[in-house]
Symmetry: C2
Subunit: 434 residues, 2 copies
Amino acid sequence: MDKLRGFREFYPDEMRSRRVIFDASRKVSQLFGYEEISFPSVESLDLFRMKSGEEIVDQTYSFRDKGGREITLIPEATPSVSRMLAERKELPRPVRWFSFEKYWRYEEPQAGRAREFYQYNADLFGPYSEMADAEMIGLAGAILNELSLKGKYSFRVSHRGFIEKVLSKLGVSNPAAVLPVLDRYHKTTLETTVARLIETGVPEKSIDQLISILKEGSKLDKIEDLFADTGIDLTGIEEIGWLKRVGKLLESYSMKDIVFDASVVRGFTYYTGIVFEAFDLKGENRAILGGGRYDNLLSVISGNSIPAVGFAMGDVVLEIVMKSLNTWPEDDGAFTVTVCFTSGESSIYALDICNKLRKRGIPALISPETRSLSTQLKDASRHRSRFSVIVGDKEIAQKGATIRDMADGSQVTFPVLEAIKFLDKKRNITLLGQ
Amino acid sequence: MDKLRGFREFYPDEMRSRRVIFDASRKVSQLFGYEEISFPSVESLDLFRMKSGEEIVDQTYSFRDKGGREITLIPEATPSVSRMLAERKELPRPVRWFSFEKYWRYEEPQAGRAREFYQYNADLFGPYSEMADAEMIGLAGAILNELSLKGKYSFRVSHRGFIEKVLSKLGVSNPAAVLPVLDRYHKTTLETTVARLIETGVPEKSIDQLISILKEGSKLDKIEDLFADTGIDLTGIEEIGWLKRVGKLLESYSMKDIVFDASVVRGFTYYTGIVFEAFDLKGENRAILGGGRYDNLLSVISGNSIPAVGFAMGDVVLEIVMKSLNTWPEDDGAFTVTVCFTSGESSIYALDICNKLRKRGIPALISPETRSLSTQLKDASRHRSRFSVIVGDKEIAQKGATIRDMADGSQVTFPVLEAIKFLDKKRNITLLGQ
């Protein structure tokens, strides 16, 4: 009975790597004052319909439960997190939350897409400010740095309000219809983009200007130069100041060279302000993470408007990127000791030593069966134990324990307590990274 | 749009407590040499049908996906874990795995039962031995001890093979039919038990003997005395030696007074040997955890027989028990510093200090908006920051930072670097537990 297609299993080696990712994200979140929350993996389908419309239904694992309710496995975090906030109106703001949950999407599995994935999510509720936007991007960058990706990624930023105003200036009557075309700019041919822009209402005379912006991009502090070259008049578009101030604030987070990229749209319709994505510098992969400001979603869900900015980072693309950059953590596992015994009679004596080691905080294994010493030592190597403890009649007679260094096979016999102290010391040295 | 009935949300305070539980279980598992794995939350319904028969279907969140496949949210770990093992026949044994996943059951929500819950799961594959059984119970006990439950729980143990042989001696032709009646012994009246025993084929002359065993119980090392009083002849039932040896081995784990209790059956039909449960000593609640030996399940799933013993512990009963015993962790959260600024002009200066603190590993918060100092200090208190950093024109002029001890309101101004060093020292003292 195989696992389902698009689903993944993680054996210990793979899970250890993933645990490093989880722990690093958690640690950085806490450094920024974010607190962990958790929410149901199953929700009313209506919660997502409210936010994303009927089209979401096809992409979800949704079904009727035995009580006839239309429910779904959650495809993303934002509606649930927003609901949790709406239920606690009295919480002092700003509210800073993060979570690391599983999500499900009924999509065709392919590189970078699984049907079940882990996703980190962070949100800052309350403030409507450049500082809030910069904090969110700063947090995202700090997590990538903690994952040893420093210098290997770039952030691309845009602003929904800004782009919509620019499109209006270019004579577009329904800017929202054009956004998906911008989103596809890097993923399709120029020809297709032009055709789709015309279809969605961009006047032919404006096409060149728009393409030029899409093609060039600029550093955040140079946006005005980018537009000056195209002849588009930015008078009265205050969002440009917002974007530049966010760029300035990000210098405090040691994040420079943020790129303005009009093709950054993010799929979700609920974004209202800044939107951003991080890519690896080779640029061969999908976005590692993405997010933005969504100031109206809370009022859709709870009738109460609360400014919000957040981002999400899935484990599937992250793993591909980190592996391609050789930064995926390959952990050898914890320091362990294997306790071996040379006869059934010595097994209880060995088990006692094993439990004493555990009480000291030293991970210790023992064979649950009477097996030959050579088999037990082979197991110790397989489990990457740095040391083995060997006990037999001789050790029992002198209340001792023989320690074997698995690296060179050297052996020394100590009294039991000395042996435990010796191993404790060795473990502490290992913990200090030697 | 409310959350669904029987599902739970965890706000930061609640999640911090839960994180303590997760981390403690993980830490003890690693002490015992167990390695973490993870598996899909959605599986073919057939995987569970194979193991538990058709009746499982009603109790699961199962449905047809958009491709027509009968799938289900996983109701328990064992079939998935067994499948993972079967896929890696080459793994050196013993294999020691643990996991901490979410599970779902379509049951009526009630005290101790949620429709979605977290469950810790550990399994030891390979050995068929008393040492393996003792290790599993020892691991379970060590986790409860780590959760500050030492001395507050008891283990009750039985053995499927043993009970079935005893029932045969008592003249029962289909012992499996009687097991569910034993399971209900403590949950129903004596009258009902007697009636159901007769219905399921226990001869009337044997009823008193069986009830006497169920009523009395015994320490593991005194089982023979228990049976001697009833006149049941244990000749040829070797499992009694097995149980006594497990009891003896458990002394090495500092676990004494393990109780033999014939009413411990565990619902799952797949257990073949020892079965065990842990209860809080008040005994008012459901089992905190339960498990046992299941040597035939792997052959059902993979055609390959591999001895196995494991247990599972859900978070729902655990939380009830720990709260009733006042051992549920109430964590005040991490050491944090809030950086406050007295004007918009000082915000970047403040943000720089905030980011310097984070680089040092000190969790630091800053208001994402220009607000009054008193509001920012109120926020610092709400977030339980031990110290605040206050900066304004005076501090900028002298390249300094004022540190406020939130406990007594005392303030000192330092050069920035000194201020950061001071806070770093304070944090390290806090980490050391003062």
